[in-house]
């Protein structure tokens, strides 16, 4: 730092306690809500929060809940989510949300208390090596040993969390640092940062990509969560690019909403439980444009048979994503929005007219795949099919300002298949880590950010019990989330895999002794509803939507329905199985070894 800058900085610096610095820095970073749980090692910060009108604190019932709430808040707003926890168990309890946010690239800042510096390493009460434990599940973390480093670290933490590929960070603050007095400096937007990810695409690579796209006769755009993370503009550029090129668009689970599901060029989600047409298009395409996705194993299926005849363009803000799982022909390190905008411009420059792109044959093929209706299921008059329940939920909430979260399992895949999104930031799900228990607290985080919206957690009865205690949080803070439980009494996806892969030996996957979810809701001071027949479903859903309180909706569905279509483990996209052709012997021994 030059002398000049130093004088300037000092002029703005004010003296505060460490705890006050934390509160002030959060406010200066634009934080309005944080999720947390107090404890011995964060009491000074809680003291500074007491009667602080600018920060709303949502009291979770478990630190894991606080972490997922911060994730839900972040994903639905595009802002950084913040959680505050104490040392030891407070920190270890939030490890799952950190790992979740790391895999799904969600920007959250977790502030943890730590034992006083002179006790670090002495196995003190509620001491754990928080930076050591969280090193592998954060983008970066800091142990702040001096109060004068605190403001700089917090500002850097926000920068790291939301720049480049977003992710979770942890700031571990010993209790004596919270009490000590030190200098606070506000953030300076133009201050030099050591972390400077590349955002602008290389124009030469963009030109190469556009040239390749012009040659394409069987193209597909495969977009991911990176497009949503790059902000609403990126989704607009994606729509513009699809429009001008006429290319079909598919997306990962994380990318749903970036491209409107109501658009004729939308193929649906791809991957293990994706659409028949999306997976076949991926397999048979000649040019693949991957934007902000990472060729995850749930997307690619058998890697050596993945889209064997295509040239691949991969746009990612994280250079390590390129050529990690799949070798590509053109790698472009860039922010998804900037790269899509540049691609649109490059395309416009060469294709001013609306000339024939030569894609008719490809679209005809896609329509044939569409006609297979891979998501078809056998309807039933007496039993609610889980797919039907989600179809009705979608139909009855379509006109609303709706946000959906999910837990993990069959219900999550059915939600992705049967609930449709036209806007980004409306779909919050645990994609990479697959965290059961994510959806309920995530919904609370979403509702805190969007108080007037309809926020629904599409849940399974097994997942939702992992974080059920957060209903108490929803009740306390008047956050009227709707938990729509597809209750089939089984850990449905586990049961499905045991049926398909383990000789129908249903080892410990039946949820015996389930609670009465209606009474449970009432015990929390919330509202419980139950639907048992297709005939009563619509009425009950409307009752749920109109309810001003948090709701647990016990939707009793068919018990042994399987989630199809499915790319069996170890198979390629074009070896997908359908519900109506399912035999039971599709997965070989090698496939069984895969997760």
């Amino acid at each position: 730092m030059s002398d000049g800058a130093h004088t300037f900085a000092d002029a703005e610096a004010i003296t505060l306690t460490g705890a006050e610095i934390v509160v002030r820095a959060l406010i200066d970073q634009g934080v309005d809500t944080l999720f947390g749980y107090p404890g011995g090692a964060v009491l000074p910060i809680y003291d500074a929060l007491f009667a602080e009108p600018r920060l709303r604190h949502i009291l979770a019932r478990h630190e894991q809940g606080a972490g997922h709430m911060a994730e839900g808040y972040a994903r639905s707003t595009g802002k950084v989510g913040v959680a505050l926890v104490t040392s030891g168990p407070g920190a270890t309890n939030i490890v799952t949300p950190l790992a979740d946010a790391l895999l799904d690239s969600i920007p959250i800042v977790v502030i943890s208390g730590q034992v006083p510096t002179h006790l670090i390493g002495s196995d003190a009460f509620q001491e754990c090596d928080t930076v050591g434990i969280t090193r592998a599940c954060t983008k970066h973390n800091w142990l702040v040993r001096s109060v004068n480093d605190l403001a700089r670290v917090i500002h850097e933490a926000f920068h790291v969390a939301c720049s480049g590929r977003p992710g979770p960070v942890v700031i571990d603050i010993p209790k004596d640092v919270q009490f000590a007095s030190g200098l606070y400096q506000p953030p300076k937007p133009d201050a030099p940062q050591r972390y400077r990810p590349r955002l602008a695409p290389d124009p030469a690579r963009i030109a190469e990509a556009a040239a390749l796209m012009r040659q394409a006769r069987r193209p597909v755009i495969y977009s991911g969560g990176g497009v949503i993370n790059a902000g609403p503009k990126a989704s607009e550029h994606l729509r513009a690019l699809a429009k001008m090129t006429g290319f079909p668009v598919t997306s990962t689970l994380m990318g749903l909403g970036a491209f409107p599901a109501s658009d004729a060029q939308w193929l649906g989600m791809l991957g293990m439980h994706g659409s028949w047409e999306a997976n076949h298009a991926m397999h048979d395409c000649d040019v693949m444009v991957c934007v902000g996705a990472r060729f995850d194993d749930r997307v690619t299926g058998r890697i050596d048979a993945f889209s064997p005849n295509s040239k691949k363009i991969h746009i990612d803000v994280d250079p390590s994503s390129i050529n990690k799982n799949v070798l590509v022909d053109i790698g472009i390190v860039a922010d998804a929005g900037l790269a899509l905008e540049a691609l649109c411009e490059a395309w416009r420059g060469h294709n001013a007219g609306g000339e024939d792109r030569g894609l008719d044959a490809w679209w005809a093929q896609i329509e044939e795949w569409r006609a297979v209706k891979g998501f078809a299921y056998r309807a039933d008059d007496t039993v609610i099919k889980p797919q039907y329940a989600i179809e009705r939920l979608f139909a009855l909430t379509k006109a609303r300002d709706v946000y959906i979260t999910t837990e993990v399992g069959q219900h999550q895949m059915w939600a992705a298949q049967f609930f449709h999104f036209d806007k980004p930031n409306r779909w919050m799900t645990s994609g990479g880590l697959g965290t059961m228990g994510y959806g309920l607290p995530a919904a609370i985080g979403v509702q805190a950010a969007h108080p007037d919206a309809l926020v629904i957690d599409i849940a399974g009865e097994a997942s939702v019990q992992m974080t059920m205690q957060e209903m108490s949080t929803a009740a306390q803070h008047d956050l009227p989330i709707k938990v729509f439980i597809l209750n089939n009494e089984w850990m449905g996806m586990v049961r499905q895999w045991q049926q398909l892969l383990h000789g129908e030996r249903y080892s410990h996957s039946y949820s015996a002794a389930l609670p009465d979810f209606v009474k449970l809701a009432e015990a929390y001071g919330c509202v419980g509803l139950r639907a048992e027949t297709p005939a009563e479903l619509d009425g009950k859903i409307l009752e749920m939507i109109d309810c001003k309180k948090p709701v647990l909706f016990d939707c009793r569905v068919a018990k042994t329905e399987n989630c199809f279509p499915m790319i069996p483990s170890g198979k390629a996209h074009n070896e997908m199985i359908l519900a109506r052709t399912f035999q039971g012997d599709e997965i070989d021994d090698q496939g069984k070894m895969l997760v």
Partner: protein
């Protein structure tokens, strides 16, 4: 699962320039263990205390696509300022220092001393029945010397791991 290619595995030396802050070595080493990469040798020391800079030199091995992935993963770490691929730098110099203890008498002892002169090793300690040699050079030279000492009474070896720098007046 990494991309499958038929390329053979090769050895690569990476110089990782990092901010000298607590935990930085753990971040780098943790990356290698978490993702299943090899570390053949690793050295680390502060190189500029005013700039809080340290230099970690890592010798690793793998297929070229994996080596590129390792470099990209290292560059992702917030505390990493720069990663230099020393092996691919035509002006890269690599050196290692070894301390080698040899015990023997008579002809073997004389032969060990004679070979040490050929390798330009320094004798830094001696008793009537042993030598400690200090040897500097590329790892391959140290390996050769160790193999020659083995039948002559090799007792113990201590090596620094590889260090590297760029030839000429500039940095790499």
């Amino acid at each position: 699962m990494p991309p499958r290619t038929d390329d053979p595995s090769e050895s690569r030396t990476l110089a990782v320039l990092v901010d000298n802050e607590p935990g930085v070595l753990a971040r780098v080493v943790g990356l290698f263990s978490a993702r299943g990469y090899n570390i053949e040798s690793l050295t680390v020391a502060e190189t500029d205390s005013a700039q809080h800079a340290s230099r970690i030199t890592i010798v690793t091995s793998g297929q070229p696509v994996i080596l590129d992935q390792i470099k990209a993963q290292l560059e992702r770490i917030v505390s990493v300022r720069r990663v230099i691929d020393v092996t691919r730098d035509p002006a890269g110099v690599e050196r290692e220092l070894a301390l080698i203890k040899v015990r023997g008498a008579g002809a073997n002892r004389i032969e060990a001393l004679r070979l040490s002169e050929i390798f330009r090793a320094k004798v830094i300690d001696t008793t009537l029945e042993s030598f400690i040699f200090e040897l500097t050079g590329p790892s391959s030279k140290i390996n050769s010397f160790i193999e020659l000492m083995r039948p002559l009474g090799l007792v113990e070896v201590s090596r620094t791991g590889v260090l590297s720098i760029h030839r000429g007046a500039e940095t790499a």
